[in-house]
Amino acid sequence: MVRLVGFSMIGLSCSGLGLWYAWNLRQRLYHLHAMNRIIELLVSLLQYGKSTLPECCCQLAGQVEEPYRQAFTRVYREMAEGRGHSFTEVYEGVMGEALRELPLKEQDRQLFLQCVLEQGSGDGQARVRLIRRQQELLRERIARLEAESREKGRMAVGLGTLGGLLLIIILL
C-alpha cells in the first residue's frame, strides 16, 4: 500500500513538473502579449496625446491589468510626489520589481523596460520610431514562442510523465 502511494506521488510530481513548465511557457506568452498591448497604448498616448511619461503611466494604469496597473500607478505617484528622482530610476525600480514576479526571461524584462525608457531626441516621431523598433523585436519573440510553445509544452508534459514512469520502473 505504501509503495503504491509512493509510486503515485512520484508519477504525479513528475507529471506536475512537466505541466508546470508548460504553464510557465503559456504565462510567458500571455505576458508578452500583454506587454505588446501596453506598448501599443503607449505609442498612441505619445503620438496623439503628446503625454509626458508620468502622464502616460497614469493613463496606462487605468487601461491595463494587474500587475501592470499597480506598477504604473506607483510610478505615476512617485513621480508626482516630486522627490526629484529621475523617471528612469523610478520606472526601473518599480516596474523591474513587478516584472521579476512574472514568469518572464531577463531579456523580456529588459525589452519591455527599454520600450518606455528609450530616450531618443526631443522629436516625438523619432521616439515613436524607436519604441516601434523595440515592439517589432517583441512581436518577433512572441511569434517564435507561439510556434514553439505548443510543441514544447506537450513535450514537457510527456517527458514529465515518462520520467515519472521510468523512476517507478527503476524503483520497482
Binding site: L46, K50, S51, T52, L53, P54, E55, C58, M79, G82, R83, G84, H85, S86, F87, T88, G120, S121, G122, D123, G124, A126, R127
Partner: protein, 327 residues
C-alpha cells in the same frame, strides 16, 4: 501653486537652491548657463549662487553648472519627456508645472529655412518664476468697471513687469465678483500655460469659481472655440501680437463679449505703433488701458490708467503713478 522652488530641479541639484527656496516669493528668475556662473534675480537685484546654495556677490565663488547638469535639469523640467514639449521648444521656451516659464537656448535645428525643428546642445536656460499675487488687481478694479459693467481692458507692460500676474488676478476677481461688479463667467485662453499654470489640464493658480481655461491652445483659435463652446461673458488672453489674434479680438468684441488682454509695450504710443493695434485702439475696442512700469526702486507698479472718451475717442489719464497702487 503646489510646487516649491526646489521641486523644479532634480534631487541632486536641489542643494544649490537652498537659500532661494526660503526666499521663493522674491525670486523672479534663475539663469543657468553652461560653465558660467549661476545667476538668480530677485526683482532687479542680481546674485550668484554658490555650490552650498548660499547667495554671493562674487562671481568667482559662483556655482558653474556643466553640460551634464544642464541636460539633467532640462530633462527633469520636461518630466523626462522632451518630445512632449517639441512644439514649445520650437518657440524657445517651455512652461512647467506651476506655470513657470523656462526659456531655452542652444543650437537650433532647422526644418526648412525660417522654421525651427528643435533645439539641441542646450547651453543656457532662464527659469522665470511665476507668482500669483492675490489682490494684485484690487487697486485697478474701480477703473475697469463703469456702473457695474466691464470696460474692455488692455494691460500694457514691458517684459517682466507683472502683466500676467495682473491679468491672472483680474480674472480671479472678475470671476468671483467684487464690490465694483457682479461675478461673471470668464473664458481664459492660456496658450503658454502661464495664466492658470495648468498641469495635466488642471489650473494650479486660483482663477476664481467661474473661469474656464483652454490650455495650450493658440490664442486666435482658442478665443473662437471658447466663444462657441462656453459662452463666456469675459474673454482673457495674454500677450496679443499677431494679426490673427487681433482679428479674433475684433470678432469677440463684436459678439458682445468683454475683453481683458495684455500686450508688450512701454506705453500707449508704443502699443499704437504695433501692427494692427493702432486700429484696434482707435476703433474703441479697448476702452481702458493699464500701463505697468518699474519705479526707481525697481518695483513693478501700475504707472498709468487711461480711459477712452466715447465722445471724441481721445484717451485721458484717470490715474497716474501712485494712486492706482502697485503690484
Amino acid at each position: 501653486m503646489n510646487t516649491s522652488l526646489t521641486d523644479i530641479f532634480p534631487a541632486a541639484y536641489r542643494i544649490y537652491f537652498k537659500t532661494a527656496e526660503g526666499r521663493a516669493r522674491q525670486v523672479s528668475e534663475i539663469r543657468l548657463r553652461t560653465s558660467r556662473p549661476a545667476i538668480l534675480m530677485e526683482g532687479s537685484r542680481e546674485v550668484f549662487l554658490r555650490e552650498d546654495g548660499a547667495y554671493t556677490e562674487h562671481m568667482d565663488q559662483a556655482w558653474r553648472p556643466d553640460r551634464q547638469a544642464l541636460s539633467e535639469i532640462v530633462s527633469h523640467l520636461c518630466q523626462y519627456s522632451l518630445y512632449a514639449y517639441e512644439d514649445e521648444l520650437r518657440q524657445g521656451y517651455i512652461t512647467i508645472e506651476g506655470g513657470h516659464r523656462v526659456g531655452i537656448v542652444g543650437q537650433a535645428v532647422q526644418e526648412s529655412p525660417g522654421s525651427i525643428r528643435t533645439i539641441k546642445h542646450i547651453s543656457a536656460i532662464n527659469i522665470r518664476i511665476a507668482h500669483q499675487i492675490l489682490g494684485a488687481a484690487t487697486p485697478v478694479l474701480p477703473y475697469i468697471y463703469r456702473r457695474g459693467s466691464m470696460r474692455n481692458t488692455l494691460i500694457v507692460s514691458p517684459p517682466g513687469c507683472g502683466k500676467t500676474t495682473m491679468l491672472r488676478d483680474l480674472v480671479r476677481q472678475i470671476s468671483g465678483g467684487s464690490a465694483y461688479g457682479p461675478a461673471r463667467t470668464v473664458g481664459v485662453v492660456d496658450e503658454r500655460s502661464e495664466i492658470a499654470g495648468c498641469y495635466m489640464g488642471q489650473p494650479q493658480n486660483d482663477l476664481g469659481p467661474r473661469s474656464d481655461v483652454l490650455d495650450a491652445c493658440p490664442k486666435a483659435l482658442g478665443m473662437m472655440m471658447l466663444l462657441r463652446s462656453m459662452s463666456p461673458a469675459v474673454l482673457a488672453v495674454d500677450e496679443l501680437g499677431s494679426g490673427e489674434e487681433i482679428r479674433a479680438v475684433r470678432m469677440a468684441a463684436s459678439c458682445g463679449v468683454s475683453l481683458v488682454a495684455t500686450i508688450h509695450g512701454m506705453d500707449m504710443q508704443d502699443v499704437q505703433g504695433k501692427p494692427g493695434m493702432g486700429a484696434l485702439l482707435s476703433e474703441g475696442i479697448f476702452s481702458c488701458l493699464l500701463v505697468l512700469r518699474r519705479d526707481r526702486q525697481g518695483r513693478c507698479r501700475v504707472g498709468q490708467v487711461l480711459h477712452r472718451r466715447q465722445i471724441d475717442g481721445t484717451w485721458e489719464e484717470v490715474a497716474g503713478d501712485g494712486p492706482a497702487g502697485g503690484i
